[in-house]
Symmetry: none
Subunit: 223 residues, 2 copies
Amino acid sequence: MTDLLDIREAAELLRVSETSLRRWTNAGVLPCLRIGGRRERRFRRADLLAFVGVASHSILPPPRNHFCGLYTSDLSRVRGAAAFLASGLQPDALCLLIAEKGVQRGVIDQIERVRPSVRSDLRTGRLMLAEYRSSAATQLDFWRARIRSALREGVSQVYVAGDVSAGALGRLPFGEILEYETEYGRSIADRAFPVTTLCQYDARRISGLDAAGLLQCHDGPSH
Amino acid sequence: MTDLLDIREAAELLRVSETSLRRWTNAGVLPCLRIGGRRERRFRRADLLAFVGVASHSILPPPRNHFCGLYTSDLSRVRGAAAFLASGLQPDALCLLIAEKGVQRGVIDQIERVRPSVRSDLRTGRLMLAEYRSSAATQLDFWRARIRSALREGVSQVYVAGDVSAGALGRLPFGEILEYETEYGRSIADRAFPVTTLCQYDARRISGLDAAGLLQCHDGPSH
DNA sequence: GGTCTTTAATGTACAATGAGTGTCAAGACA
DNA sequence: TGTCTTGACACTCATTGTACATTAAAGACC
């Protein structure tokens, strides 16, 4: 977690203009550090939060937003994805479900049991369906495009659930899947993006070593 | 994500007028932060969502104290246990390492690299070594006895690292191992006991289904 | 080394904004 | 019917945002 913010990031965090930050630091009411011969301002997150009266929890657990789920049956696969997406269907969020058609139907039916309005979520585009591309590169491009356009349209949080094992990606050698996941974690599920992801894998079709690799490139299991 | 919304964004999010937001914050029913000399309002997303009854993700994560670690090499096994125990070697804590003799030596050597005083920790009993019993029941009794006596002696936190795969327990059918872990989680790694546990397994010797079972009866992977 | 572009700081002037304080009408509800 | 809440509008005023020019450091490039 970057603890030192430049003036643009600080202005974005506090939703104020850079001018105000300069005024406040000049007036001495807001601490800031100076760096380099140009004496650029650097702000500590804790100082910024203290300035608006937020108690800075000194030790925050690191954010976890890239989970993997190992399902052991078709039912547990559907249940896992449904629970994840149902919790994500919030007013200003976008949910994406990437899975084969049959699985999509099962997940929708399952969500409907706790959220009868799923169908309308589908119509309004708050919940979108797709299938995995067959190449890691095109799939990554798909993610980036979808998420960027959603953020541009004002969505504040994106929830992604993908059934990797059953899709086209799942037929790649496992090493390539891990590379894909690693890249996904680095460039998409990064802290910078408000994206939370659940990657599902069929525990019956992977080895223990595969599972260890999955845990390595995810923030943990979902449950 | 600690993002703050200004009053316009907050009004847009909740689909109410800015007037109402001002009234609600003045009445104290909706929390808001104040910033700058004009005391402008800034709203935390979680507060806004909570105000309309949406369960926010800012609920405290449940405590996690029963981890499993999948190692893929002898080196990663030793490193995992060493990192875990080194972080646990605090003044009022007791650390337990349950592993075969050879692994014990490797872990001690590894800890010594970041904490030269390990040997004295061993002498004073702050770090204790043992090997797995061959039956789940006797092993559970061992844990209970050790931990209870430690707590009686004033220890405030117990850290347990165990290499299950390589020990006598690891030779049981995997179903029995899972039963043992489940019982351990229920009666020892319970919230009531100040015990944090790392159970290590050899990823090379288990199946994907086994790994899924392990994740099910642990709070998550350690890393 | 030198050159060019980018970026941030500083300073100034002026327009825009939000807070605080009112009033008032429309709709919900018992 | 009366009461309560919401949204809209008006007004003042201090703060904030924006736009501009200037300077200097940092980074990219040859």
